[in-house]
Symmetry: D2
Subunit: 307 residues, 4 copies
Amino acid sequence: MENIPEQPADDDVRRWLTERRNWGRWGEDDQRGAFNLTTPQTVVAAARLVQTGVRVSLARPLPTEPGPSNPFPVIHTMRVHDHGRPNGSGESGDTVTATWHGPLMTHIDALCHVWDANGMWNGRDPQVEIGIGGSRWGGIEHWREGFISRGLLLDIPGHRNEPYVTQDRPVHGSELIEVAAASGLEPRPGDAIVVYSGQAAYECEQGPMRAELRPGLHASCMPVLREWDCSMLLWDMQDLTPSGFASATWSVHGVIYAYGIALVDCVVLEPLVEQSRRHDRNEFMLVVLPLYIEGGTGSAVNPVAVF
Amino acid sequence: MENIPEQPADDDVRRWLTERRNWGRWGEDDQRGAFNLTTPQTVVAAARLVQTGVRVSLARPLPTEPGPSNPFPVIHTMRVHDHGRPNGSGESGDTVTATWHGPLMTHIDALCHVWDANGMWNGRDPQVEIGIGGSRWGGIEHWREGFISRGLLLDIPGHRNEPYVTQDRPVHGSELIEVAAASGLEPRPGDAIVVYSGQAAYECEQGPMRAELRPGLHASCMPVLREWDCSMLLWDMQDLTPSGFASATWSVHGVIYAYGIALVDCVVLEPLVEQSRRHDRNEFMLVVLPLYIEGGTGSAVNPVAVF
Amino acid sequence: MENIPEQPADDDVRRWLTERRNWGRWGEDDQRGAFNLTTPQTVVAAARLVQTGVRVSLARPLPTEPGPSNPFPVIHTMRVHDHGRPNGSGESGDTVTATWHGPLMTHIDALCHVWDANGMWNGRDPQVEIGIGGSRWGGIEHWREGFISRGLLLDIPGHRNEPYVTQDRPVHGSELIEVAAASGLEPRPGDAIVVYSGQAAYECEQGPMRAELRPGLHASCMPVLREWDCSMLLWDMQDLTPSGFASATWSVHGVIYAYGIALVDCVVLEPLVEQSRRHDRNEFMLVVLPLYIEGGTGSAVNPVAVF
Amino acid sequence: MENIPEQPADDDVRRWLTERRNWGRWGEDDQRGAFNLTTPQTVVAAARLVQTGVRVSLARPLPTEPGPSNPFPVIHTMRVHDHGRPNGSGESGDTVTATWHGPLMTHIDALCHVWDANGMWNGRDPQVEIGIGGSRWGGIEHWREGFISRGLLLDIPGHRNEPYVTQDRPVHGSELIEVAAASGLEPRPGDAIVVYSGQAAYECEQGPMRAELRPGLHASCMPVLREWDCSMLLWDMQDLTPSGFASATWSVHGVIYAYGIALVDCVVLEPLVEQSRRHDRNEFMLVVLPLYIEGGTGSAVNPVAVF
């Protein structure tokens, strides 16, 4: 791996978003990005990791309570039909109105979710591709076979021996490498990287996390994720915000369009970490099955880890 | 197994819904039903079935086109924010309004979805349990660890050597047994039973399936599913409609509240059948991960089979 | 008025949509169209028509039942908050998801609702003007001061002495003139023309009206509406469908973009007609107040006539 | 009128909510409340007030921006159909998901919107009346003929010669009487009372109004509104919050269920006040036309004043 500068500058961030980007790697018309790295072989290998059969869901409940950190609450409503049917039969149904990508709903970002002046994934133009009916490029439907991958847990607070990551000491790329090594993990192409930053403990002490002030992953994580060639990143705290780089709206979120990596935002990791620490296991089968939404920019998901 | 009458009467259907029902089997307060049969051991066994790593999605795209068979079309809409951000950054997001349980959306039914005069799952009263904010009993959130099960494909048209099941010759319970035996399958507790009836070929010849006239599974399948002790049933044609029993609104759907079995309606099975026939394999790992919706009556899902 | 041919041809329809169109009449940047004809003077004149104070609503209930003629049913759902408040206080609220412009919801069409190859109202390009967040041209917000107009009822079945208009004998422009004259009505600029075709009686005998086969107003009504210089047309049966003109998707709906006239579709006119016949009055104050939706293509409305 | 205590106690508030309440006044089955006071005579009288024909809308745009004071933003989305039609024809449509009763949407409250331990309007039990599909009592559909009333503007800042009402000096009932008298207004049964408190100026200086801290109308306004026998109250600042009474969740909002008065929340009054001050006129015709929503707890509206 290249040397990651201790104090990267704006130019480094721009370089990370362009120099090693994966555009064209799977063809100019590719709309699956790093999902291509989840080959049948990696699926088999992931399944081989299942030993005890213990399942852990990483999902939050769909967030129906409005609040400053939930600008578009899910609207969940009920219907009942129980009149005039034989034998007292009845049925209930629900309607769900859900808006992603807010900071309280566990969801996956499709390749069309973000871009910068250089374009969307593989260099496409959002002005051309994104329309009223959905995106014609990089929609979530291209991942409908689902991610079934080796999941690697990087437990930052466990490594630091602190309850949570703080604003003044975000997770740098070098620390990802350090924690992986200390955990005996060797990332391979197609892996799902799960970075735990301690959100529950943070919110317990600091109150609800705010969208505009958030510890998390520093932009220098980008070249590491690229080097590891992972297919997916799951995280509880997301990008360090503000990023510290004047010209970067996206720091780590840039891996979506630059490298084609799937992000799963807003996962709940405490139960996974507990299971991991108890059994001293940091790898597992991870399953993320996006809904099949044509032209969708993402999907609410219920990621499940299996030990 | 009990002897299933060739020409069952109304009373037989009622008996199947009550005599061997699973109420109390996992305690009076149990809200997971046959999901309890997916133990860590069955999860491990399911993972062991993964051999080639080939994944097949059983989901239809979210149905946005209105029509006679889609009374509540999904409303899928886009937002874009791309003004005034550094470096030409932009993002897109979607809002999805989805209503289940219609006949065009691939979805799972929770235990609170249907009932009859005897009550909901485990004997609860829908008048008490189902409220404006959701169901207080048997909601989909109780299955959020996800179904990771051995899937068994029963290929009815393949067995009959006909393109699809017809209205005048629905799938009886005895045929399920026959097809399983002929395929060398021995159902075990916790399995996910996948019954293929040939919907695509049917619709190709007969036009879109109508909710009120539908070939599919005859009520006599109920005691078989109970005997097999499966956790889940996935099917492309659902219950034979009309059921042929004056007093039964639900025929096979009754396994939800009587036995606690999860139904996954409206799956697309042709790609699975093709895979199965080509490799002569009728068992695989099947993964269904419902969204985490508190008090929800079900969830849109993307079921994935892994060979 | 020009001579309206008995058997108009495609070219006549095209001519009506272009020759006397109102583009530029109120300036090139005008987004209000024939709403400009509802001057303070016409408002005063409309108010002067109020004599008995009897109000008649022309709205249907928001259509929540799905069906062939209601492809996007309104989703109407409830919330209740009644816990933990002093004095047993509680409150209820609703969420409404409404999609216009379906054939069962009483709604007004904004100027941006339809167009043809010549463009939208005043010649604008829909590709440029209509975006994800709404229309930048001719949105419903430009009519937020509301239509308060003289309403003129043209009672076609009353004139014909038949229960309803039939498919083989639609309402021609010449008949509008005839009925107005027979009723002693002299249309003036800014008027709201209300054309009753007898929908309830039609549906009583023929079953629910189908979108693709509908008696109603013939394309030859267009030049009459233009000549009368009305601001608004309210109707129960809408355009004759099929229009009889191969190249016209829109026949009378074309008055929206050609003349800037507001259409109010799907009104219920029987109570108005009854009131009118009983008191032998065909003119009244008519009030239509669209919701203030920026960039909206229309609005559900509750039009009220006051005698 | 009774003597209103300068420093009312909890007991006074409770007394105002019960002693003179209108339950039974129009029959035990009445679901229209003070709307009954808008008789044909008052409609005629209201229309007679129209002199210049100038219309002023009191509506805010539907609030689509999420924020602390907009917990359920309106979701407004577009569709376009423009393919494969003759003559380049196309159409656009919108879907609106709107949740009332938030503090940023101009809306009317139906009689079923609020209650306390004594019950809903006319003494009904919310547990019985409010269901999943809507309210069976006091729904907005009972007002579908629309309010066409004499509107009286009480311009509090104008009277005080201050820019806006402040938290420490809310509007007392005695001040309503004072301002009416000073403006030469004599309230009559059925009137629509419009109380201006200066929201725009307040927010200009103090920032966006917060739901939990709001100057506005003191509970002592209730007996005055009852005495005046108005049908409707429109206001920009709503109830003083906190109310200052430990046991009152609702203070002035209690007029809904106690007296049957319609509230129109979140109106924009500056343009009306400007018009009023310029022409020295405080009375006008006021039109509020709720959408026809069966069982609805209210409706977004576009109130229009006509001078």
